[in-house]
Symmetry: C2
Subunit: 322 residues, 2 copies
C-alpha cells in the first residue's frame, strides 16, 4: 500500500486507478491509502458540474478540460454515472469518455458507478476527487448526471459549482424546482446556438435578482460546448471564483466543513460496525427482527444495542487495549 501511495503521488495512472478501486471497496487497505494521501491533498481546484439531463454536461466537461489543458494544467474528471443494467452503466461511460481522454496523458477520467457502499456515492466522489488531487491534478472536475438532492450533496465536495441549463427543457419552474440553483457559483446556458438561449439566460438573471446578494454574484454564461464557444470565458470565470475564495474566508471554510463531514462519516461507519458486531450486523439480528415485527421500536432497539456495546467496552481490560 505504501508503494501504491508513492506511485499514485507521482501521478502513475495505473496506481491511481488501483487506489480508487481499493477505496471504493471500503476495506482496510482503502483506509490506508486515504491516510497516506491526506497530507498531499487540498491543492487542486475542485469544480462541480451539474444540471438536468440533456443539457450537454459531458460535452461541456470535455471542452472545459481542454481549456485547462491549453492553459498548461493537468485535469482529473470524476463522472458519476449510476449503474444501469440497460446500458452497462459506468463501463459504457468510461469507454466513451476514455476515447478522448486517452489521447491526452494530462487528463485522467474515472466514472463512478458504485452506490450505497460505504457511505454512498457522495463519499466515493469525495475520496476519488481527493485521490486525483493528491496525484497532482491541478483541476478536478466532478460531473453528475442529475439535478436532485444527491447532486446537492455531491456538490459539497466542489469549490466552484457550475449549474448547466439549456434552452427548451420544459418550463423554467420545473428546472427551478430541482432546487440546485442556489448552490451555483457560475451558471451556464449551454447549446446557446439553439432558439431560446437568450431567453433562458434572461429568465435566470431575473430569478437571481430576487436572491439576496452575497459578495459573489454568480454570472450567467452562454456556451456551445460542442464547438467550444464560450468555454474559454467559463474557465476565466472559474479562475476568478477561485481567486475570490482564496482571498476571503471561503476557502478555509470549505476545507473545515469537508474535514468535519469526513471525520464524522468515518466515526459513524466504524461505530455502526462495532455496535452490530460486523458489517452484516449479524449480532444485532434479533433486535432488528423485533423492529421489523413491530414488537420493538427502532429507538429502543438502538438504545439496547448501544448499551450492549458500552458494556462490552467496559468489560474489556483497558490495559490490554491501550
Amino acid at each position: 500500500v505504501i508503494d501504491l501511495v508513492q506511485r499514485l503521488l507521482s501521478g502513475d495512472k495505473r496506481a491511481i486507478s488501483r487506489a480508487i478501486s481499493l477505496v471504493e471497496d471500503d476495506d482496510a487497505s482503502g483506509w490506508e491509502i486515504m491516510k497516506g494521501i491526506h497530507p498531499h491533498s487540498g491543492r487542486a481546484h475542485i469544480i462541480g458540474v451539474t444540471g438536468p439531463p440533456g443539457v450537454g454536461k459531458s460535452t461541456l466537461v470535455d471542452a472545459l478540460a481542454g481549456e485547462y489543458r491549453k492553459a498548461g494544467k493537468t485535469v482529473g474528471i470524476v463522472a458519476i454515472d449510476p449503474t444501469s443494467p440497460f446500458t452497462g452503466g459506468a463501463l459504457l461511460g468510461d469507454r466513451i469518455r476514455m476515447q478522448r481522454a486517452s489521447l491526452d496523458p494530462g487528463v485522467f477520467v474515472r466514472s463512478l458507478a458504485t452506490r450505497g457502499k460505504g457511505g454512498g456515492v457522495s463519499a466515493a466522489t469525495g475520496s476519488t476527487a481527493k485521490i486525483l488531487d493528491a496525484s497532482g491534478k491541478e483541476v478536478v472536475i466532478i460531473e453528475t448526471a442529475g439535478a436532485g438532492q444527491s447532486e446537492v450533496e455531491i456538490m459539497r465536495h466542489a469549490h466552484s459549482v457550475i449549474v448547466t441549463l439549456a434552452p427548451g427543457l420544459g418550463d423554467d419552474i420545473q428546472a427551478i424546482k430541482a432546487g440546485i440553483l442556489e448552490i451555483a457559483d457560475v451558471f451556464v446556458v449551454n447549446k446557446a446556438d439553439l432558439e431560446g438561449a437568450a431567453r433562458t439566460a434572461k429568465d435566470l438573471e431575473s430569478a437571481l435578482e430576487l436572491r439576496s446578494r452575497g459578495p459573489w454574484q454568480p454570472p450567467v454564461l452562454l456556451t456551445v460546448a460542442r464547438d467550444g464557444r464560450g468555454v474559454g470565458e467559463l474557465r476565466e470565470e472559474l479562475d476568478e471564483h477561485l481567486a475570490y475564495l482564496k482571498s476571503g474566508p471561503g476557502w478555509s471554510e470549505r476545507q473545515a466543513l469537508a474535514a468535519l463531514a469526513e471525520v464524522q462519516d468515518i466515526v459513524a461507519r466504524r461505530l455502526v460496525r462495532e455496535v452490530g458486531g460486523s458489517d452484516s450486523w449479524e449480532e444485532a439480528a434479533p433486535q432488528v427482527k423485533a423492529v421489523a415485527g413491530r414488537e420493538k421500536d427502532p429507538y429502543t432497539a438502538a438504545d439496547e444495542l448501544i448499551q450492549q456495546y458500552i458494556r462490552r467496552i467496559r468489560s474489556q481490560d483497558p490495559a490490554g487495549r491501550e
Copy 2:
C-alpha cells in the same frame, strides 16, 4: 407527546402536522413520537413516484390519489420539494397542492423541504411516511422531484415504485442514464396524448427485455393524468403488485431492510453526537481543524476521537449508569 401520539393515531390532521414538524426537528420529542407510533405502522401500502422533471408527476399523484379515494381508501402524500430561494420551495408546493387536497378530508398532503438535517431527506421521508401510515392512511404516496441518486435512496421507503416518463424528453439514453429504471415496479408513460408516446413505451419495453427476468415483470402503462385516462388501470396494477409482494417473501424482506436501515441510522446519529460531545461537535474541533490543515488525516482523527470516547465510557462508574 403521548397525547399528541394518541390524536395522531386517531387521524387528527393537526396532530399529524405537528408530529411531522417535531420529527423533522430531530429532537427528543420527535424520537418519542417515532417510538410511540412504531407499533401502529407497517400497514399502509407505500407507493413511490419518481421520474425526470416535466413528466407530470404531481398531476399523476393527484389523479392516483383520486382513484384510491374512489375505491374508498384514505391517502397520505409526501411531496419532496427541495427548498429554493427562488420559489419559496415547499411552501409554494404545499399551497398549490393543498387547494385540491383540502377539499377532501380523506387526503393528507405534506411537502418536505428539509435537507441535511438529522439524516437528510431520505430519513425525513421515511419518518413522514411512517407517521401517515400510523395515522391510518391506507395508501401513502411519496413523490420526488428528480431522477438522481437520492431518488433511488428515497424510493427504498416504498413498497411499489412508479417510474414516470413522458414522450419528447430528449433522447432515451439520457433518461436511462439517470439509473432509476431498475428500481421500477411499474412504468408509466404520462402525457400519452402527445406525439411519440407509443414510441417511448415501445423503447422502454425493448430495454426491459434485455433485463434478466425476475418473478415480477414491470408493466408499461400509458396515462393522461390531466384528464385521468389510464390512472384506474395504474391503480389496479399497484394492487396487483401489492398482492404479489404479500404472497411471497418480498413484503417481509422490505420490512426487514427498512428496520435495519432505521436502527443503524439511529445508532450512527447518537454515537456521532456522543463522540463529538454535542451536535455541533465543539469538543472535537481541534482534531477537525488539524484535518482541515492537513496536519492529521481523517482516519487518525476519527480513531483518536473514538478512543477518547471509549476512555470516557470506561472512566464513568458503570453502577451509576445502569
